[in-house]
């Protein structure tokens, strides 16, 4: 049912218009909203995780080395991570640069 568009016949709707695919919003590429992108300098990063816990869009996750990497599919470019990074390891750069 969860066609990405939602353009469906009334017969295809789940009972009461309920949504049956948990977390299907993860299909949505909110990264398109971004005009600035955060870039982390892992040389400066101390793996404190501030970027991770302060991100409203669940962009950061820890890689095998313990560094926090951004998933640009979701990153809206708000800049909280850069602002809050205690080591100034994250810089916001213009998209397309």
């Amino acid at each position: 049912m969860a066609k990405e568009t939602g353009i469906v016949s009334w017969k295809e709707l789940a009972l009461g218009c309920t949504l049956t695919e948990p977390g299907s919003a993860a299909q949505l590429k909110t990264g398109d909203w971004r005009s600035m992108r955060p870039v982390t300098d892992f040389e400066l990063c101390n793996k404190c995780g501030q970027c991770y816990i302060f991100c409203p869009d669940m962009v950061y996750s820890q890689n095998e080395e313990g560094f926090y990497e951004a998933d640009y599919y979701y990153c809206k470019g708000c800049g909280i991570c850069a602002r809050e990074c205690p080591k100034d390891a994250i810089q916001m750069v213009e998209e397309g640069d």
Binding site: L19, S24, I53, C55, P56, D57, M58, K76, I80
Partner: protein
Amino acid sequence: MGVATEALKDFKGFHPKKLPDVEPLSPGHRACQGCGEVLALRQVMKALGENVVVASATGCMEIITSPFPQTAWRVPWIHVAFENAAAVISGVESAYKALNRKGKIDQPDVVFLAYGGDGGTADIGLQALSGALERGHNFIYVCLDNEAYMNTGIQRSSATPYGAMTTTSPPGKKSIGQRTWKKNVAHIAAAHGIPYVATASPAYALDLMNKVKKAAMVPGPAYLHIYSPCPTGWRHGTDLAIEVARMAVLTKVFPLYEVIDGKWILSRKVAKPKPVSEYLKLQRRFRHLTEKEIEAIQKRVDEDYDKLLRLCAMSAEPAGDKAAEKE
């Protein structure tokens, strides 16, 4: 010992380096860039995990997580209307209670969460909230307070702070913006005599998540009032939500505390508070304020904080209680 004190006696907080990976609220939601409210909700959900049923009031957090055909929810979630999240969760909780007791299901450990914005909590939903708190349902209510009706375009609520500019409290020749002082719903919740009340801020994520965990552990109603910066409505940069939230705590504008079994406990004493003007100047919703008005706000903030300190001091005074217990 009160029920909350009893339930929390072996409480262990989250480890800052080992926060739960679980994200019951998925990415792909459509909150504004730099939304402090969805960030607070994300932290709440991380702390709660996945064995939970969530009831949402109408508001930003409802709109941005559930437009058909996608949902950002990985846990069962229901939105009914604006003013009734507390009543809806009353029904869910009671249904689980009855069905478990009657052997129709075996799910005794499900946690029940209702949340709403400040409009859905302090204004239109206050009656349903009060009813649910008074009836003693085992649930958590979270108010995600961004201090105005942001979903409909930044109209004032009873939780909008004095002096703030909104689209229905505009400053003008005869107006300084919001003319009333912010309604204190955490105090109203505490007046119900429920086991657990707390204020929290996404800038103090670990504190917030620990309070959510406590709220879940406590039997009966728990109320959390969470400060939720709104860059769009407060007119500040998209990168400033945490900075503003932190400043609200450091200026005593939004003190962090708990009320456990009626005992008031300051979570974080602000020993050397920053002047309120430092908080106000971060947000363009206050930029029209004159020195005189800022002074009035500073005075009110100091008074409120002193009141809170007195409540905490009274709670901490064990003399009467302890003496009685010994006898």
